[in-house]
Symmetry: C2
Subunit: 404 residues, 2 copies
Amino acid sequence: MAVHEDAPLAGLTVLEVSSFVAAPLGGMTLAQLGAQVIRIDPIGGGPDWRRWPLAPSGTSLYWTALNKGKRSVTLSFRAPEGQRLLGDLLTASGHDGGIVLTNAIGQDWLSHSALSRLRPDLIHLQIQGHRDGRAAVAYTVNAATGFPLITGPEGLDGPVNHVLPAWDVACGLYAAVGLLAAVRRRERTGVGSEITLALADVALAVAGHLGFLAEAQISGADRPRIGNHLYGSLGRDFQTADGKRVMVVALTRRHFADLAFATGLTSTFAELERLLHADFSKDGDRYCHRQVITALLEPWFAGRTLADIERVLSGTSVLWSRYRSFGDLAGEGTLGKSPLLQEITQPGVGPVYAPGSPLVMDGAAGPCAAPELGADTGSVLTGLLGLTATEVQALAQRGIIGGS
Amino acid sequence: MAVHEDAPLAGLTVLEVSSFVAAPLGGMTLAQLGAQVIRIDPIGGGPDWRRWPLAPSGTSLYWTALNKGKRSVTLSFRAPEGQRLLGDLLTASGHDGGIVLTNAIGQDWLSHSALSRLRPDLIHLQIQGHRDGRAAVAYTVNAATGFPLITGPEGLDGPVNHVLPAWDVACGLYAAVGLLAAVRRRERTGVGSEITLALADVALAVAGHLGFLAEAQISGADRPRIGNHLYGSLGRDFQTADGKRVMVVALTRRHFADLAFATGLTSTFAELERLLHADFSKDGDRYCHRQVITALLEPWFAGRTLADIERVLSGTSVLWSRYRSFGDLAGEGTLGKSPLLQEITQPGVGPVYAPGSPLVMDGAAGPCAAPELGADTGSVLTGLLGLTATEVQALAQRGIIGGS
């Protein structure tokens, strides 16, 4: 991959022994800022290697999306010699290496205590389900948080799961934060870090950081399910005359005044405020009277096409967006126009628009393709460990390493 | 706040000029790892100062949750003298300071170009809605991604919004990553960073990193709405005999074999595989036949209480969780038992369990209360800028700073 020499994380080397979303996303976040991230898999691939969705070739669009810009090494995880090679890579990864990111649980040879014997300055971050070591995935963690019971249409009975694996995403980004914080400490003090990060803790922490846990403790009651309304202010989806949907938000006094003006409802809302003894410049009042306010807005949206609505609302402070499907995004040329995405050629997939890091900063590179499984095994072992091509070939023949 | 001297980010000073979720969460993430984060608000508070949910006292449970462990300074944002004080703090914040995190848009005095004149080594991260400067919030960004149209019950028409502001959360964590990456580069090279991070880019990047964008480009079609089923493998919610719900996931061959055995369906599923010419050890086949598999599982769950189910499934590899509401979480004593949370006394709220960082590492502190608005104005100006108490008082009397 094309790493800029002035990339923020140029020089860092991270060994990643991972699967699924959180750990791979954490590693890729660092890779897209210039770190060398070497993903190490068992020969033949980990449990996520063929995960859906798949390209017609059988290549996983999921795996390739989560491993862009990494190098891929495959080893025998069972053979002591394979395990030892990971330790050798750790030792050989230099002053800015000695970093392991993993979500492998119950593998002694990957534990902090085993690996810190090889590198006392080891930075080791282990992602697990629960803090006590029990397994969990984003779907079970989400069920335990409270969000599914307040997501979805008003009046619905039962939970609505997230399709977005939001806890995996947050967990992967927390992992990147934890590793960089530990790198800073090591650069100042020479001391490594043992870090654990539980997916269930991430969900509970975020629920707490957003006030949901305090609300439940103070009120002693559950927040009601309010469909697509925005809690605590004014926002909802509306249907347009041409069968589209738009999400419209008036978070501040100015947004609401602009929305009222744009829809010709300024005096109607003023009259309504008097009738209800309300003050719609306050977000609490907009929220309490959301049903009547949005009922008055509905006909305005229902009577106009998306193009009409766009014409009227653009140039105002009103926050709004059309709802788009992923197919719309891919089909409308939106992806090609975004500076976030670039067309890459992904082995097994072909040309595809892929995102780089959303962090726009000097030296952050655009997206690179994901490696083919094991493609860098030889070059990493020769480059980092100084093995000869013959030695690499012998290891491959004996099934200690995979081949490219 | 009680910062450990060996905290990973001890010594760092970050000035945060923020509101709502993303920037405050980014700053708090650093504060919980030991950075000194000074949140600077206009006198009287920013637009999020009274945001719902509220405690009976009127204190925002949202604001206090997102600003734990920070120091709070209030200044006049309009008076040139107030603006200058922020510049003075930036200059005075030392070798490990000079860091600004903001989501204020269109304020020239907070821009990278203005502030980098004061500190050439400035690290400046600005969160915005779209990369081109247009405003957006998590609710409008989400509408544009495609997720709302595939979230929610099968057969439902229309979008289902996230209640979790997932894009704000991801954006705040990306901000923390970006700042730490820039800190590392500055420590190595002395060079500061101008970083921009758009909420809309975060959503599009994550959608891409998870394979949704590639899938839409390759298949040319939209993924169908599949309710609470897990895409690409086997997982769904089930009702229990005592009216509870559980989420059950069989992500691997072993999970599925354990689930089949626990529910007494091993031979039924084996027979079904023969009938359907399927192989349920493959996640794709479990996914394709999810309706019949889960239909066969349903009666087992419907005939058992939660306690029964727990007895049978615990000790197996099957991933599962009961659905809990936030009220359940607060009422069941779950919060008091989690080592992630500690009881703090939050001014305006009272005693409440609040989460620290989910990153478990040496020197990461437990949760601290959020400050009262402006409570640290005097101590920050005397401590960091060396003003006398009389000078501080004079500034407060002239309305240049808020008071504690």
